[in-house]
Amino acid sequence: MRRHLKILEFALSALWRRRFKNLAIVVVYGFTIAVLASILLMTDAMRGEAEQILIGAPDLVVQRVAAGRHDLIPVDYAEEIRGLPGVGEVSPRYWGYYFDAFTESNFTFVGIDDGPPYELELLEGRLPSAPSECAVGEGVARARSTGVGHELTLISHDGLGVIFDVVGEFQASSSILTNDLVVFRNADLVELFGIPEGRAVDLSVEVFNDGEVSTVAAKVKRIFPDTRPITRSEILRTYDAVFSWRSGMLLTVFAAALAAFCILAWDKATGISAEERREIGVLKALGWSTRDVLELKFWEGAAISLTSFLLGLIAALVHIFLLGASLLAPVIQGWSVLFPEFRFTPSITVYQLFVLGFLTVVPYVASTVAPSWKAAVTDPEEVMRG
């Protein structure tokens, strides 16, 4: 044990003696780890956010499909669905997207009757309760320079301007949900969008027993063949698949960078300096065996890997959770103009660390095995003779 610790001590002092050469490796190694860790952490954080948001989503959403496209659904369907055993409340939902010509951005409009659609926190004011009232998200308020006590002018479906009183503004902490959101009363939204009487955008269905959701969905599909029931677990699974895919896709793209890094590591490990060769020669002349020198090389690699891993991981944590993934966000956030600021809940799992280690440390170790051996079998006599 003492022997191993002594070799470790020697390895650390050897690394320190050649600190500038090793610093170059640590910087590139750390950067590679930071990039890969950022991808892993961000996609997992986004998956977590999506799961949190979907906790409040309806068990089952029934949409109507016409000509393969989403169409408005007759409100009458709700009555029949409510009659199915195990089904609780069935309520029509009114929502849609609105292109705002002033700011050239898209807003999301949601109609409510009583409570908010999800657990949204209002920064100030209240939710709309009277005609011509609305509550806006932070992004909308900023883009249109409005706020509680001010007005919001929108263009209705028939081209006329409609003025709403802003009575509430959503908290920034829910910005991933509410940034581009405007909440109205259902009647106002129906009028603004010109939704025909007796129609809704879709129906939200409450199913008492989680285990029966897919059965209810099958029954709805049988009764109304023109509908598409979407269960919450389907949405969750889709998000899971999408985020895993995005993460995997980005990692595949960065595989080229990883390969470049391995070549650099190989090159640095192969091109040992004359001084280093002399050092190994002296060690062997003093009685070190090839096994000892290999162990020395192992400890050097371990120290470099651990240092780079920790530095890279810290950089990724700062990037994702403190700086809101500012470098990666443009790649994955989609098409919106009013981007929410990402404020992810910091989280890290052992699995992420393990995967990250496999993606970075394994290639590094694999590419330095042969060069380490080459250095370790240095012949002392040959080196000392120069």
Binding site: I39, L40, T43, L236, R237, D240, A241, S244, W245, S247, G248, M249, L251, T252, A255, T290, R291, L294, Y351, F354, V355, F358, L359, V362, P363, V365, A366, V369, A370, S372, W373, A376, V377
Partner: protein
């Protein structure tokens, strides 16, 4: 194909391990062709230096393979979220049955890799490379195994289709079904429990006996009991240990124990089980080569530590497995 980060890590890791192992085999064969330890020629000196390269390449490759077994278990468990009907690793493996073939290959590697690493350690320590031919020969067996692992994993992950509706542990590991898994789940609880504890006690006694009075019979008995203990424990895991961990009389899945809701107890359980079995097998393995005095001396020094570590791992395993049986509020007395 599912582009999951864990899948990429597994395939990349296995590919790296295979590349290293193939390189080790190639260099190993070159060494064996002209190997003559009694010679003091420059060629022999160069070959002796090359043995360090083979050892390093193979050790790193096998260490990657051992770590990848853990990663495979976790990844397969994590993937279940993508499949309708899957609730744990069983569902993910059922989504593409090739996955079930990866498991026995991983188990073989998990047993063979540490044995090779230990054998290599003794060979290097002995000084005159007494078992070099045997260990390089073993590499030629291990390399196809690692290749099979990579191919099967790739076929499994490439063939996964999230649109497939899979079935999970509730239907596979149920006493009412048919097949090996159902037979195991249907084993009577108390006789299996008796067999498990008897086997654990016999295994520990054999290791203790071998530690105190090393003899060929004791070494062989320890190895035989190690393999019996592995088989009985895997059957017990499905038959009754899982019931106590989940506190459900009908839940026999050996994979749900890996999930966080059960404190991921499966990882220390399986790790200590495999460690115990490997340490139990090592004395018998060393017996094969004890004819060479330098090897026997190195093996004698190591054997004590193996047996002590094996005893410790068995105690950890039996302790962890027994906590819910002894202290849990769940009981199977009515069954």
């Amino acid at each position: 194909m599912i582009l999951h980060p864990g899948v990429l890590a597994l395939l990349g890791g296995s590919a790296a391990a295979l590349a290293l192992l193939v390189a080790a085999c190639v260099v190993g064969l070159q060494v064996l062709r002209r190997w003559d330890f009694s010679s003091s020629s420059a060629t022999q000196l160069a070959l002796e230096r090359r043995t360090f390269l083979v050892s390093s390449l193979a050790t790193v490759a096998l260490a990657i393979e051992i770590a990848s077994s853990l990663l495979f278990l976790y990844t397969v468990d994590d993937l279940h979220r993508l499949f309708v009907g899957a609730m744990c690793a069983t569902g993910s493996l059922n989504a593409n049955p090739v996955g079930w073939w990866v498991l026995p290959v991983k188990v073989l590697i998990l047993l063979a890799a540490p044995l090779w690493i230990a054998l290599n350690g003794l060979d290097v320590r002995a000084g005159d490379f007494p078992v070099i031919r045997a260990k390089y020969g073993a590499l030629l067996v291990l390399a196809p195994l690692v290749a099979a692992d990579l191919v099967l994993q790739a076929r499994y992950f490439l063939g996964l289709d999230p649109a497939v509706i899979t079935s999970c542990c509730g239907s596979l590991f149920s006493a009412a079904g048919s097949g090996v898994s159902s037979e195991l789940a249907g084993l009577p609880v108390f006789p299996t429990m008796t067999a498990f504890y008897a086997c654990a006690a016999a295994f520990m006694a054999a290791m203790a006996a071998c530690r105190l009075r090393p003899a060929a019979v004791a070494r062989i008995a320890t190895a035989a009991l190690a393999l019996t203990f592995l088989a009985v424990t895997l059957a017990s895991m499905v038959s009754f240990l899982s019931l106590y961990i989940y506190e459900l009389p009908t839940h026999h899945c050996p994979f749900d124990v890996l999930q966080l809701q059960y404190r991921a107890i499966g990882y220390p359980l399986y790790a200590s089980l495999f460690a115990a079995v490997v340490f139990g097998l090592l004395p018998a393995l060393s017996l094969v080569f004890r004819g060479r005095p330098s090897f026997a001396a190195a093996a004698d020094r190591a054997e004590r530590h193996w047996l002590e570590a094996g005893l410790a791992a068995t105690i950890v395993f039996v302790g962890l497995a027994s906590v819910p049986v002894v202290f849990g509020s769940f009981t199977m007395r009515g069954y």
